[in-house]
């Protein structure tokens, strides 16, 4: 796995309007693994994810995906290579129905026959609210939709930015289970930004710690078993 990383980031720098946030990130995401990224508020986790998906132009460094340099590609081109992105704050299409939201997700791979039923199987509330405008869903329902919307496109790598936020405990468990299940069945690679220790421990096989725009530590699977170690790193 580690010999053949799906995503390799080297010397990545990016920021907003001349304000640097990422100060040289080096990271390798192994194919077929679930990798977590943790760190305090404002250290640049979301910024990293946005740079990977292509919402933020890097000012230096490289991003390789499946052996190919993607740092110069537009976000939609990256998506079509199989990157999926679930943003922090959900960003559902508010004036479109749940089903239409899912339909947009198909664009990731241009899949002609999307498997809505699988998504509805993961998140039954979405089937129930198929025709409701997404903007009127509750916060947690929107989060489920945002995850479902990406999965429907069949990506090979999913970037999840705090997926447990606003979700009821039992569904957090479900999401973790779904992630692990997909990972095992289909080899889906997942990058997970999380604050929820239990979710990290339930899902991640590897964990990077970020601080001030840099990766400051890597936690091995063994260290992940110890919740106090994780907790300490989250508190840096």
């Amino acid at each position: 796995m580690a010999e053949d990383p799906l995503l390799t980031i080297a010397g990545l720098r990016a920021g907003y309007g001349g304000k640097p946030v990422l100060q040289g990130i080096d990271l390798a995401i192994p194919r077929g693994e679930i990798t977590a990224v943790i760190g305090r508020n404002g250290v640049g986790k979301s910024t990293l994810i946005k740079a990977i998906i292509g919402l933020l132009p890097p000012s230096a460094g490289s991003i390789r995906f499946g052996g190919r340099e993607i740092g110069a590609l537009t976000a939609h081109a990256r998506a079509r290579l199989g990157l999926g992105y679930v943003p922090q704050g959900r960003d559902v299409f508010p004036r479109m129905s749940v089903e239409e939201n899912l339909k947009v997700g198909m664009s990731i791979r241009g899949a002609p026959n999307p498997d809505y039923d699988a998504i509805y199987g993961y998140f039954p509330i979405l089937r129930e609210r198929r025709r409701q405008a997404a903007g009127t869903l509750s916060g947690g329902q929107q989060q489920q939709l945002a995850i479902g919307r990406v999965l429907v496109g069949g990506p090979s790598l999913v970037l999840l930015d705090e997926p447990s936020e606003g979700i009821q405990p039992s569904i957090v468990q479900d999401i973790a289970r779904i992630g692990v299940d997909l990972n095992r069945r289909t080899g889906l690679t997942i990058v997970l930004v999380e604050q929820n220790i239990d979710m990290i421990r339930a899902m991640a096989q590897r964990c990077f710690v970020m601080d001030k725009g840099r990766v400051t530590a890597e936690l091995t699977p063994a260290m992940l078993d110890d919740r106090d170690i994780v907790r300490r790193h989250l508190a840096v």
Binding site: Y16, G17, G18, K50, L55, L56, P57, A75, D91
Partner: protein, 365 residues
């Protein structure tokens, strides 16, 4: 400044809501006013009259800046107040003449008429929770209704006292502003005395608005612009603040109308038409709607540039104006004058501003 000084409110001349602070800025501002004051002595009568004419429009622009730039409510109908006050000035002065300072009374009445109408219309709009483009279209409809109505008042039956409304051809013959003066009344036709009066009014208005927007009132109206829901949840009655802003801004449009009417002794329905209604928006947007100073400077620059192009551009004038607008908007996202303001800082820093490429954090407006 001493904290107990009676002038401590003057500290509000600066603040987060206005560009420009410190001795540097005020030095330049004082210099600008001094130059403006010396200007009539250095130039010809035409330029003086023409500069007054430019000044006359700035009040409306500042009013719109307050309503739109600070308050976030795009009124497309400021010309309704401009016209209303212009006609009101005409009616009052044509009926009662210019003696005993009556033109000044007429000015006050005319501006009050705009303020009153703005209060009624604003109540109707803001308490009906009309916002965004809906507000723009309603205010535009109001000014167009005025225009179309006034355009057909050519007949003799349309008069207020001795004042004929006179339809599309416009109302004319009203006296210029006249100040009672021992001996002979001082008639302020477009000449040096009127220049100083208008300039003084402009300076006072500008400073007054600076005080206003940097006060806690100003804080609230920009908060409403940013997030009316949050502002409500901080206990502010959004509607009242919007209404107050609208009334002040509209009264300024009315003041412009009076000054314009007395300047040219003429007011016409087309000053409330679609083109006229769009112009203040263009001035404010090009200068930089987020700030009073950029609006003031931008409006004057644009008025001058448009006139210059019309004089020297022959048939290409309108094309050149169009290009100017397009290029300005593309190159200076926050307004032309705002960009000029930032220039020194930018040169000093030598760091390019972000290509506003993708900003996922920002909600689509």
């Amino acid at each position: 400044m001493d904290r107990r000084s009676p002038l401590r409110f003057l500290r509000r001349l600066e603040g987060p809501q206005t560009l420009g602070r410190g001795p540097g800025f005020w030095g330049i501002a004082a210099l600008a006013v001094a130059l403006a004051a010396a200007y009539p002595l250095l130039t010809d009568a035409y330029t003086v009259g023409n500069t007054i004419y430019f000044f006359d429009w700035v009040f409306m622009a500042l009013g719109l800046c307050l309503i739109w730039g600070y308050g976030g409510a795009l009124s497309f109908g400021q010309t309704a107040f401009f016209g209303l006050s212009g006609y009101a000035y005409g009616v009052v002065t044509l009926d009662f003449g210019a003696d005993h300072g009556l033109t000044l009374v007429a000015t006050l009445l005319a501006v009050a008429a705009s303020a009153l109408f703005a209060a009624v219309l604003g109540y109707f709009l803001f308490f009906g929770r009309i916002g965004g483009v809906f507000l723009g279209i309603v205010t535009l409809a109001v000014t167009l209704v005025f225009e179309r109505f006034m355009a057909q008042t050519a007949g003799p039956e349309w008069h207020v006292g001795a004042a004929r409304l006179n339809g599309f051809n416009g109302m004319s013959g009203m006296p210029p502003l006249t100040v009672p003066w021992p001996g002979d009344d001082l008639v302020l036709s477009p000449d040096v005395p009127l220049y100083y009066v208008t300039l003084a009014l402009l300076v006072v208005t500008y400073l007054g608005l600076r005080l206003l927007v940097n006060s806690s009132f100003g804080n609230v109206i920009v908060a409403i612009r940013e997030n009316p829901h949050r502002a409500t949840m901080l206990g502010y009655d959004v509607r009242k603040y919007q209404l107050a802003t609208f009334v002040i801004g509209s009264a300024l449009a009315g003041l412009s109308g009076v000054l314009y009417t007395s300047w040219g002794q003429y007011i016409t329905p087309s000053s409330m038409g679609l083109t006229a209604a769009a112009l203040p928006i263009i001035w404010v947007a090009v200068g930089g709607r987020g700030d009073l100073t950029t609006t003031l400077v931008g409006t004057l620059l644009l008025l001058g540039a448009f006139q210059f192009l019309t004089i020297y551009g022959s048939q290409y004038a309108l094309v050149a104006m169009g290009l100017l607008l397009v290029v300005t908007v593309l190159l200076t996202p926050d307004g032309l004058v705002t960009a000029l303001f930032r220039l020194p800082r930018r040169l000093g820093r030598r760091r390019p501003r972000a290509a506003d490429a993708v900003d996922p954090g920002r909600e689509a407006a």
